[in-house]
């Protein structure tokens, strides 16, 4: 999963000095659950400050100022241990490139898709996701006893800059990939807010690439296809 947030959209103040002037970046590794729990305490916060500190080890210190009944606020401080990733490993963490997809299609309303997949997960561990250039997408599961297909129509296909490969494609031809249903559900369940744009690129039998765009956040999710 790859997510990008613009600093200016989230922080009133932002100060950072990277490793070097020409490598003005810092790569940190941490347990997401810690950060998520720290930010949960900030739901009604007056201010939140995030600092990189060195306590017993490098830490991301989240300082939350909460309203209180008295004249001065309550302060919650979370020290989340982080691992600083050395520069030589930075190439491991580059933004993944958009694959050469066969079909690109806009997703249906995520809530609907999620409730469909939620019911499918009780029947099968895998789901086939297929789509074509006519704006049609199907979710299929198959067991010994039953086959279930949900059809979505008129979804629309986004236009990409270079569409050479797809020009030759018969618009009715479905590109498909069989993926782990739990991973698809994880992706769908994580979406709390409706994105401005949500689309999916399918490389036939290889990979499904989801792109979600909100006003100030972009999210990319890659799910490999199973044989």
């Amino acid at each position: 999963m790859w997510c990008e947030l613009g600093q200016g959209n989230f922080f009133d103040e932002f100060q950072m000095e990277g490793v070097a002037a020409d490598h003005n970046e810092i790569y940190l590794e941490l347990t997401p659950e810690n950060l998520s729990r720290a930010l949960k305490t900030a739901q009604n916060a007056k201010t939140v400050k995030i600092k990189l500190t060195n306590k017993h080890c490098p830490c991301l210190t989240v300082a939350v100022e909460l309203p209180s009944l008295s004249s001065s606020s309550r302060i919650v401080t979370h020290d989340i241990p982080v691992g600083v990733i050395p520069r030589k490993l930075w190439t491991d963490f580059r933004e993944p490139t958009v694959p050469d997809f066969d079909v690109s299609i806009y997703l249906p309303v995520l809530k609907t898709m999620k409730s469909v997949v939620e019911r499918m997960k009780n029947i099968s561990n895998h789901v086939v996701i297929e789509a074509n250039l006519k704006g049609e997408m199907n979710l299929k599961i198959e067991t010994d006893l039953v086959c279930i297909t949900t059809h979505f129509k008129d979804l629309g296909n986004p236009l990409w800059a270079s569409e050479d490969a797809s020009q030759d494609r018969d618009s009715e031809n479905m590109a498909e990939a069989r993926i782990d249903i739990k991973k698809l559900l994880q992706f769908l369940a994580g979406q709390q807010v409706n994105p401005t744009k949500a689309l999916c690129n399918i490389v036939h039998n290889r990979i499904v690439h989801f792109i979600l765009l909100h006003e100030d956040v972009s999210l990319q999710y890659f799910i490999p296809a199973l044989s």
Binding site: R37, H56, C57, S68, R74
Partner: protein, 347 residues
């Protein structure tokens, strides 16, 4: 033993049971003689004492909300013939639910403690304390409470010795002393105790909408948490971690400090681990109570042990039990818990 709990007090009893269930697996019930008010009556030869499984007791009071709506009164009696503790809920529409719980007779358990001997005291509405510990992970075992320079009250997560400091998240909540109704403690005073049990007693205090008093002394000596109003009196005694012994390499077992000061007599469980938790709950019958039936057994009356002066002379039932919590093998590394923030360095 026979006692009667009426009306809204049934819900309070249910809530107390729920709160206690977060602390231990067994519930001790003991009616007490009221030495102060019934001086003329000779003490019972053998006041019945019993313990029941918490699960069984809790199943009677499963839903406090439903209890409030349907139960008019609750009668608790010990039936020696059938060896059962009989709890009868007299409900609306003529419905009576009778629960027969099996019990074990046991020796009386008493923890000797005196809040008045603790030099430090904190009092705050339960709500404030609930909010103060909300940021901590539900999985956290112990928390340190202290007063920082600058007179702020600080709760901080306590890392057990065997946890990897480079992996564990540390959380601290600091509150202005103005949020406390009373704060009598030295700057730098602090104690470390079990968070799970603290949350249990807090939920009871919060549901009763009462302030909580925290009486404490030096680390290692038990901390006493009390709540009281006209209907009930609650004393929760939690052991605290003792200070590390800097001179010796041997890890000091924190519980032993608390153990020796508790002076328990005659407890059945000789496997007490480092933490001992004794809870004394007293429920006052209140003016509305009529005695069940004339019976040779005493009604619930209180016997005041002379070592606990100042406890209000209410009709009580007292329950004490012990829970065992895994102890950290070594005390914290710092000589004193650092309650002020470290100066930051860029990572």
């Amino acid at each position: 033993m026979k006692c009667l709990v009426t009306g809204g007090n049934v819900r309070v009893l249910g809530k107390a049971a729920h709160s206690l269930s977060r602390i231990g697996d067994e519930l001790y019930l003991e009616p007490l003689e009221n030495g102060h008010y019934q001086a003329a009556r000779p003490p019972q030869a053998q006041p019945p004492r019993c313990k029941v499984l918490m699960k069984s007791f809790l199943s009677v009071f499963r839903s406090p909300v439903a209890l409030e709506k349907t139960v008019e009164r609750c009668c608790i009696a010990l039936s020696p013939e059938s060896s059962r503790l009989v709890i009868q809920l007299h409900c609306k529409h003529g419905v009576t639910k009778t629960h027969n719980l099996s019990f074990q007779e046991c020796e009386s358990l008493q923890a000797i403690f005196d809040p008045a001997q603790c030099p430090n005291l904190l009092r705050a509405p339960a709500r404030v304390l609930v909010e103060a510990v909300a940021p901590f992970s539900p999985a956290l075992s112990e928390v340190t409470l202290g007063v920082s320079p600058g007179r702020r009250v600080v709760f901080r997560s306590y890392l057990e010795e065997d946890t990897d400091a480079t992996k564990a998240m540390m959380t601290e909540m600091s509150l202005n002393e103005e949020e406390f109704q009373q704060l009598e403690a030295q700057e730098g005073a602090s104690i470390t105790f079990c968070l799970k049990e603290f949350r249990g007693l807090l939920s009871f205090a919060e549901s009763a909408n009462l302030p909580l008093n925290i009486h404490f002394d030096v680390p290692g000596r038990p901390a006493i948490f009390t709540i009281e109003d006209s209907l009930l009196d609650g004393h929760f005694v939690l052991a605290t971690l003792s200070e590390p012994d800097l001179c010796s390499q041997e890890p000091s077992r924190p519980g032993q400090g608390a153990h020796s000061t508790m002076h328990l007599d005659d407890f059945a469980n000789d496997d007490i681990d480092s933490y001992m938790i004794a809870m004394e709950t007293t429920v006052c019958e209140g003016a509305a109570v009529a005695p069940c039936t004339p019976s040779p057994l005493s009604e619930e009356e209180e016997a005041e042990p002379s070592v606990v002066p100042g406890t209000p002379p209410l009709k009580k039932f007292r329950s004490l039990f012990f829970g065992s919590v895994l102890a950290p093998t070594e005390p914290p590394c710092e000589p004193n818990p650092v309650l002020a923030e470290d100066s930051d360095g860029e990572g």
